[in-house]
C-alpha cells in the first residue's frame, strides 16, 4: 500500500517536472527539469523493484541509470554553454569565439 502511494506520488512529481521541461522558458529550466525527471525515474525503478518483489535486479538498473544520466546532463550543459562537446575550454575562450 505504502509502495503504491509512493509510486503515485513519484508519478505526480514526474508529471510536474515534465510540464516544466516542456514549458520552461530558459534552457536551464529544461535541463533542471529533465534532470529531476531522471532522478525521479531512478527512484521509481527502485520502488518498482520492491513492488515486483526482487529489489536486487532493479537496483542494478537504477544504479546504471544514475551514472549514465549524470553524463547526459553534463553533455547537454556543455553544448548549451560552449556550443561544442570537444574542447576543455574555459568560459572566457567561448566568449572570444
Amino acid at each position: 500500500m505504502t509502495l503504491t502511494v509512493t509510486l503515485i506520488a513519484l508519478l505526480v512529481t514526474m508529471a510536474f517536472a515534465l510540464i516544466r521541461a516542456i514549458k520552461g522558458p530558459t534552457v536551464y529550466d529544461r535541463i533542471l527539469a529533465s534532470n529531476a525527471l531522471g532522478t525521479k525515474t531512478v527512484l521509481m525503478i527502485a520502488v518498482l523493484g520492491f513492488v515486483v518483489g526482487d529489489p536486487e535486479l532493479y537496483i542494478d538498473i537504477a544504479l546504471m541509470y544514475v551514472l549514465i544520466g549524470f553524463i547526459g546532463t553534463v553533455a547537454v550543459l556543455k553544448v548549451s554553454e560552449f556550443g561544442n562537446l570537444g574542447q576543455p575550454q574555459s568560459h572566457t575562450d567561448a566568449e572570444d569565439t
Binding site: 535486479l57 542494478d60 553534463v74 553533455a75 562537446l85 570537444g86 574542447q87
Partner: protein, 139 residues
C-alpha cells in the same frame, strides 16, 4: 569545463565507479541483468565523461584511434575465434560444449569469452563514435 572544480572532482570520483560498474555488468551477466552490449556501453560512457570534462584531446591521448580500431577488431576476433576453436574441436560453430571436458564448464567459458569480445567491440565503437562527432572541430 576543466576549470570548474566541482565538475572536475565529481568526474574524477565517478569515472572509476562507472568503469567498475561496467565490469560488474559484464561479468555478472550470467546471474542478473547484464551482458556484453550493456557493459560495453557503460564502459564507454566512463570514457565519454572523461572526454567531456577534460576535452577530446586528452581522451584521444588516453585511447588513441589506432588502439580503438585494434580493439574493435580484437573484440570481433575473440567472438569469431571462439567459433573457429569449436569448429576445430570438431563441433559446430559456437558450440561451447566442445570448449572443455565438462559441457557446462564449456558453456560458461564460451559465453564469458564471447560476451567479453562483444563488450570490447561495443565500447571501442562507442568511443570512436563520440570522438568522430565531438572531436570534429578540433584543430
Amino acid at each position: 569545463m576543466i576549470d570548474n572544480p566541482v565538475l572536475r572532482i565529481i568526474a574524477k570520483i565517478i569515472i572509476p565507479m562507472i568503469l567498475l560498474f561496467a565490469l560488474y555488468v559484464q561479468f555478472h551477466g550470467d546471474f542478473g541483468p547484464g551482458g556484453g552490449f550493456q557493459a560495453g556501453v557503460i564502459f564507454a560512457a566512463g570514457f565519454i565523461l572523461y572526454g567531456l570534462v577534460f576535452g577530446t584531446e586528452s581522451l584521444r591521448s588516453a585511447v588513441p584511434p589506432a588502439v580503438l580500431r585494434l580493439l574493435i577488431a580484437v573484440g570481433l576476433a575473440l567472438f569469431a575465434g571462439v567459433g573457429v576453436i569449436t569448429m576445430l574441436a570438431g563441433s559446430d560453430y559456437l558450440a561451447y560444449n566442445a570448449l572443455s571436458e565438462d559441457p557446462i564448464a564449456g558453456q560458461h567459458l564460451g559465453i564469458l569469452v564471447v560476451e567479453f569480445g562483444v563488450g570490447v567491440t561495443v565500447s571501442a565503437v562507442m568511443i570512436t563514435i563520440f570522438l568522430a562527432f565531438a572531436g570534429r572541430n578540433d584543430p
